[in-house]
Symmetry: C2
Subunit: 122 residues, 2 copies
DNA sequence: CTAAGAGCTGACGCTGACGTCAGAGGCAAG
DNA sequence: CTTGCCTCTGACGTCAGCGTCAGCTCTTAG
């Protein structure tokens, strides 16, 4: 059982963020008699998962709905629908980003070539 | 020469957003004597490009720096650095998203299998 | 015992890309 | 000429994921 500072250190997430996660019902905690939060070891993985989902563009609301089934693997048809929707959104995002990256790559490659040939305004 | 409403319609971007782009020096416009904005046809592509870069996670500040060279292909060593940095950021983002997508895929596949075999709590 | 360093609960601040509203002026059609 | 839609410039509102500060309590090393 670790306290909030230790969990923050282990995950690289701020103490404020962890309290925010609890506020959003993303991360539970046991409380000592004096009210301090205590976390089990698996909280580390859970926090990292939450971070991953945030980074994938999901909102707190979406995460709170999907987290249980992502953790347990159990899922209702409704949740499966939401899950697939998010998956497709992420998939489209990947394709858009790939397009953009390739576009930048083209520019970078051309610019590098320009420097080699010494012809900046061909 | 189209006015702002037409450009908004053609790009799917709000009028407010287009004015915001001008405020951020992302999109210029000629003004009629009465002060109304007029855009050439190529403004459509420029707006779509801006949207693409926003979607890739770039800020207005980054876009305003990189837009000229993305359009013209001309670039200084400094800009090439910034460009490569953004490219790498996008690349890392793609990998993270791919990870997340695959994770969701695994869950979806397992859930579907569960439904087929009728064993929700294996 | 005591001082310092966690932790706690509000509660306000911040940032960026716009939404929205107010009040006023522009423009083609009938 | 006027009606109705478009456009203009401020300027304030929004939303999410925290940052930050205040004032207080808890815990623990010495």
């Amino acid at each position: 059982m670790m306290r909030i500072g230790e969990l923050a250190a282990k995950t690289g997430v701020s103490v404020r963020a962890l309290r925010y996660y609890e506020e959003q019902h993303l991360l539970g905690s046991e409380r000592s008699t004096s009210g301090q939060r205590h976390y089990a070891d698996n909280a580390v993985d859970r926090v990292l998962l939450i971070q991953q989902l945030y980074a994938a563009g999901l909102s707190s609301r979406s995460i709170v709905e999907l987290l249980p089934c992502v953790v347990t693997g159990e899922v209702t048809p409704e949740l499966l629908e939401r899950l697939s929707a998010e998956r497709d959104r992420i998939d489209r995002q990947i394709h858009m980003l790939t397009d953009t990256r390739d576009r930048l790559d083209t520019i970078i490659t051309q610019a590098t070539t320009t420097f080699r040939t010494g012809r900046p305004c061909d």
